[in-house]
Symmetry: C2
Subunit: 210 residues, 2 copies
Amino acid sequence: MCSRTSPRTSRTGRPRSTEADAAILEATRAALVELGWSKLTMGDVATRAGVAKTTLYRRWANKNELVVDAVAVLFDELELPDLGSLRADIEYVVLQFAALLERPETKTALMAVVAESTRDEPLRERIRSSIVERQKRLVLDGRRRAQLRGELPVDRDPVTVEATDGLIFDVIAGAVVHRALVSAEPVDGDWVARLSALLVGGLGAVAAAP
Amino acid sequence: MCSRTSPRTSRTGRPRSTEADAAILEATRAALVELGWSKLTMGDVATRAGVAKTTLYRRWANKNELVVDAVAVLFDELELPDLGSLRADIEYVVLQFAALLERPETKTALMAVVAESTRDEPLRERIRSSIVERQKRLVLDGRRRAQLRGELPVDRDPVTVEATDGLIFDVIAGAVVHRALVSAEPVDGDWVARLSALLVGGLGAVAAAP
DNA sequence: TGCCTTTCGCTACGGGTCGTAGCGTAATGG
DNA sequence: CCATTACGCTACGACCCGTAGCGAAAGGCA
């Protein structure tokens, strides 16, 4: 929501219109659905939002940053209720993440901004803090719960803990993204069942053999 | 290499310059390294290649198709020598794939064209046939070898076989891509060892419990 | 050799997007 | 009331796109 060029606690002057913020982000998502990433233009978003083009540039430096903010809020919906078992938790979060990737806004925008981020460090940081970290927290929660249930051993070495967390996250998120966007095949119950079986079995084997 | 609008066996007239083909693809890769995907322009590629801009458009309809062809040849290097064990094979192919993703050409181009392909079916098909299938074959080879060694059981159900192959491919390729481009952390020996341990253990568990 | 066909380099063009500057106006706080 | 900031609007140069039109080059074929 907050832009990079946010006036640090500007006490005086006319305040930024929060309605304009919301309208712009909403218009950006609508444009992503209708046009996709490549054909989305700043002028078109401004027109849809009923806002002058200069107002967009006062908040976001370029198209990339705008789209990240517009899509990031969709990731707020992600949650991980305790379903009683590691396997059930994995299946739930995978299906939820897949549903998010099926939406045309995220489908066309996520890969594009990640591609741009390979040459734009501030953009990468913005993606990390507003999207990636939000997903990764689910992994940490799931692992912690599994340990409380006794399904996974409690690792004492902090280095191993962090490495394993990162591995699990990259495997789950990467597999889902690759399945949905590269292989372009559905993330259905059957596939999710196979993935979770692979993960649960693999985590057990890894924990058993240090 | 061959463009979409290739003249089917044109017997008469001046033939296409193969030197121009090579120069254009080479210039495209150079432009990707220097400028990245978003700042790469057709006119710049033409200038680098010492070729008229119209010559590019005679071969490729747009930037996307050109970049796919320019990057696809890099995937020809991928190979999978028999290293004696499933785990060694996995580690080798993962490191090889990661090295490919570390190159600036592929790093900036792969995600971009995949993002574009979500709204461009012909482009998706081109990516699939010239890049994805080339990687997937390595997975099939590795699985077949592991079965010959007795490391994995020989599954009789063709539906299960295809589903498992697809799962393994999405997990491996997805995890590496996610690690390298989203998490932006190195695919080093330690990480690869953890991933292969997870996979080998998981595949064993999946095979044991149908 | 002469003819036909296709590709080549080159120039030029209309159309579109970018990102900014400048202006007058609107909305706050002191 | 005044300083300050945001807003809408217009206009602008710069850039890139993708195509058309031209004459010249390089092949096949009789």
